[in-house]
């Protein structure tokens, strides 16, 4: 086999392997997104902030462990967000800058959600009892969640593009630097 071709195939296989690992983490992330929504619906419909909750950090934070639905919601939210970390690591290895940026954006969006979520509990406590701000907090939390979903959805577009590029261009000589010439498949 021509050495340049063998090199191109090796490189293509290495990138393809990394891309498939990214796909695995994206599948997990989408599963956790769905679980977050399911648990969020439980919180939305069945959870209300108890009157005994103090309007301070420990009071609000302890609510995460007080209700199973809230605990599940937060856990799945953390898991879905954390799936972006291996995606970023692998995307850096194959120089997919757009994917890195989109997942960094998704993490940033979710961070906003991790602030407004507890704020909802805070504004709903008896001591504060500010319905408007509690509603806005919930609205922001849900909006940034959707933003994160959209950003991670978009990232997959770039990964699929790279997958196709590697599969069809890497060994065809169409990649920059490759001296192998393309022959039309029969």
């Amino acid at each position: 086999m021509i050495p340049e071709l063998a090199e191109a195939i090796d490189e293509g296989q290495r990138v393809a392997k990394t891309l498939h690992r990214i796909f695995t983490f994206l599948y997990l992330q989408f599963a956790f997104y769905w679980a977050t929504i399911a648990a969020g619906m439980f919180v939305n419909y069945y959870y209300s902030v108890p009157a005994s909750v103090q309007a301070d950090f420990s009071g609000v934070f302890s609510q995460i462990f007080a209700a199973p639905s809230l605990f599940a919601h937060v856990t799945f939210a953390v898991l879905s967000t954390s799936m972006s970390i291996p995606v970023i690591v692998y995307a850096r290895r194959v120089k997919l800058t757009s994917v890195v940026l989109l997942h960094a954006g998704a993490i940033a969006s979710r961070t906003v959600g991790f602030i407004t979520g507890p704020l909802f509990v805070y504004y709903s406590t008896t001591a504060i009892s500010n319905g408007d701000l509690a509603n806005i907090s919930t609205f922001v939390m849900a909006s940034v969640f959707l933003m994160a979903v959209i950003l991670t959805f978009l990232s997959r577009i770039f990964i699929v593009r790279e997958d196709v590029r590697i599969k069809y261009l890497a060994t065809s000589g169409a990649l920059p630097g490759s001296s192998v010439t393309w022959s039309k498949p029969s």
């Binding site: 577009i157 599969k167 498949p185």
Partner: protein
């Protein structure tokens, strides 16, 4: 060179018979579908947080509800078109994902109607909440399935573009 031929052939790809321009048009339709999904999600969130959060109820004729339902109908129509494209032009996975999205949307609509018919507020009772549950979860499932159908179309488009370049 033989290796290059094998690696570059579109084996295992579901390219269909629609052609590049048709695929691009379908892809644009799918992107439009996502914009509408977004509008349905935001209007649903608005209803959930600002209208039905307490004892207040929502009726079928409420303007926000109308926007929400029209959006869902557009989602249905676009998903239906994509499914038909998948069936007619030999893209089995696109057709299956779109069919899944359609079934989810129909079941979600039934859930939404159950929510409206049994009181239309979060405090209307457990059946109302079940309706809300069905609506929300199946809407997200429809969104995910439409997304996978879109990815298949995008991949086919990209493969045809790349093969067009190298040939």
């Amino acid at each position: 060179m033989e290796q290059a031929k094998l690696t570059a052939s579109p084996q295992g790809e579901e390219l269909g018979t629609l052609g590049l321009s048709g695929l691009r048009l379908t892809l644009r339709l799918c992107y439009l579908n996502f914009a509408v999904y977004l509008a349905v999600y935001v209007s649903g969130m608005y209803i959930n947080i600002y209208i039905t959060s307490g004892v207040n109820t929502i009726g079928i004729a409420d303007p926000t509800n109308m926007i929400h339902m029209i959006g869902a109908t557009v989602n249905f129509a676009i998903s239906f078109i994509v499914m038909i494209v998948g069936i007619l032009y030999g893209m089995r996975k696109v057709a299956l994902f779109s069919l899944g999205a359609l079934i989810s949307l129909v079941a979600a609509t039934i859930g939404g109607l159950l929510f409206l018919a049994t009181g239309g507020a979060r405090q209307s009772g457990s059946v109302t909440l079940v309706g809300g549950w069905i609506m929300s979860l199946l809407f997200m499932l429809a969104l995910f399935l439409s997304y996978y159908a879109t990815l298949r179309i995008m991949r086919a488009t990209r493969v045809l573009e790349v093969l067009g370049k190298v040939q």
